[in-house]
Symmetry: C2
Subunit: 363 residues, 2 copies
């Protein structure tokens, strides 16, 4: 059965925030339809975020998906609604799971060292980002200020970033929570993760470079993270499953899936109307199931609304790199100017993943 | 006027979670009392977290404080209630603002390098932690598992941490939020921060050592962070304000307060009934006002319920160090054993800050 919808979101047509399902150029106002149909999920769908529905679990996600596939109902035109952040973000984690990206960045930032740190092939490296500054596509991005060492100077100064970058990523959204002390097995991924979205993990490279040793990225990232407005349920992307690249050394036992899979998603990075890169998600070294298993392997709990992003998606070829740091090889002129408009789009298995956009605003 | 209460918390005596104010060995059931008194804050106090009250702002915090100081009402005995997490944690940030701690750790972990990284004296270094695993005092702490390189081995293995540590910290809780793109000035600290609590930032040093380059601490910290159950309003600690240590170089303009202050709080770290250290909070290099100004200096917004912790508090003397890593100088035998009970207590300006406790549970 081919899914006919793009995903779940939250919209406001002037009568308050409601859960919607995208269909073509319109939005299904899904809660009253679900109530009319007598669905057990109707109450959860009547919320102003996706969180209550996402918390119901896979059986509900599949049942509502089947119901939607057979549903014939009028839609509200997309240009008559405002799309809101689709879910309340609990914790936000950003991974670093593209081998090509990690090697590219290592070579640019630490040219005299091995590009990969010793732990990289043993675990999917990641860090916590700021969930309060995850914003929906279309939100203007104010150029952040911070302390950075300007070229030709020896001490830091405070001012607007001179190296504002994008990171093309895919984000995974947890629906079913887990208890403190109970790691999520790598094979339980699809029981916990509701769906995925596109992510632009905006990065101020000069602020990041000055601050990141030894505690990692902080203000160089925390000013904004943009996500696409439609969360695509995982079950709509089953046809996009592909085997991940081989892993050497073999992953530790708790990261070893019975049937490992990645997703064959085709992404594109568009700046001011020109596609500058086409990163292939199928090239990611660590899978989303391994990321979730790692994230909880120490006993940390997961909550409904947790968002974890893949890390920059970069393929082996230059035209597949997912950041301006890589595309410009560190050249200052390659970064974003005020007024630039960035769009990340994606598709997979005949599903349009939508897009995440943002325009850079100067002082 | 001496404040007669220890702080605000959330308790359950079997009739549901409610806001309470500690008084001696009892808890004031504050919402019905506030309603009887006709306080405008009564509705916010009738919630099951402190968030709505904390969002009201400083005028309300002071008015309710004054009302409580003159209030004569019966309390519920502490031993008849369960204390819950007092607020819903939005984002959690952990700083690293003790000069003595940063130097001690640098010398132990990177003996061949300068103990302080170049940015340390320019900005209060920090990173985002996992807000979903902030737990209230008394919650058992399961020994986390993770990948670490065991002494005598050359490759990592997955297993229980062999170096489970504590970090004695003070946490600050944001009440009044800020907008995206609008940094909080360093002099606006007391308009945004409602109060403080004690924090034990549990740390698995071996997991942390293997993972922390280049993205910072992640699973070595995210398994649990414990906080004391009573949030002490800042206005109750005005008498504990002290000038912070001198800063060299002078801080950047946005970190320069008109009248900088730290807090003269006396902390103690107790393991299995023995006080092993007495860290002085007055020795912290970066102030809580500078931390909040830095945190939002890139335009990141703050939300009601944001928690930011000071970083390990260590004074100049050995008996003032706030972690077992420092107290044991890296010796494996110095870390926590299963069954150990850790308590951090604090006081300042005649106010008892309460305590945060946790017992280590093995497999």
């Amino acid at each position: 059965m081919k899914s006919t919808h793009l995903g779940y979101g939250v919209f406001d047509d002037g009568r308050g925030a409601r859960v919607g399902v995208r269909r073509g150029d319109g939005v299904l106002d899904v809660a009253p339809l679900a109530a009319d149909a007598g669905l057990a999920e109707a109450e959860a769908l009547a919320a102003d975020t996706l969180n209550p529905f996402m918390a119901l679990g896979r059986a509900s996600w599949l049942r509502v998906g089947d119901w939607l596939a057979g549903l014939d109902a009028p839609t509200i035109p997309l240009d008559e609604v405002r799309l809101l952040l689709p879910f309340a973000v609990a914790d936000y984690v950003d991974f670093y799971s593209s081998l090509h990206h990690a090697e590219n960045v290592g070579r640019i930032l630490r040219p005299d060292a091995e590009p990969l740190v010793p732990s990289w092939r043993h675990l999917p490296a990641g860090y916590h980002g700021r969930s309060g500054t995850v914003v929906v596509s279309g939100t203007p991005i104010s150029r952040p200020h911070g302390q950075r060492v300007v070229a030709g100077e020896s001490t830091p100064s405070f001012g607007p970033t001179l190296r504002l970058d994008v990171e093309v990523e895919v984000g995974f959204v947890v629906g079913v929570p887990s208890a403190l002390g109970a790691p999520i097995p790598v094979d339980a991924f699809a029981d916990h993760v509701f769906g995925l979205c596109l992510v632009n993990d905006w990065s101020a490279r000069d602020i990041q470079a000055f601050e990141y040793v030894p505690l990692g990225p902080f203000l160089g990232k925390s000013f904004a993270t943009s996500i696409s407005p439609w969360i695509i349920p995982l079950h709509a992307l089953d046809a996009a499953r592909v085997p991940p690249p081989p892993q050497d050394p073999p992953p530790a036992e708790h990261l070893r899936a019975a049937e490992p899979w990645g997703y064959d998603l085709h992404l594109e990075l568009d700046i001011n109307g020109t596609v500058v890169s086409r990163p292939p998600f199928s090239s990611m070294y660590w899978t989303p199931a391994q990321q979730l298993a790692h994230l909880t392997s120490n006993g940390a709990s997961a909550r409904t609304g947790d968002l974890y992003a893949s890390g920059t998606v970069s393929g082996p070829q230059r035209e597949q790199w997912g950041s301006l740091l890589e595309l410009g090889q560190g050249d200052a002129a390659a970064f974003l100017a005020d007024g630039d408009v960035v769009a990340i789009r994606g598709s997979g298995a005949g599903q349009d993943l939508g897009e995440v956009t943002g325009r850079i605003v100067g002082d």
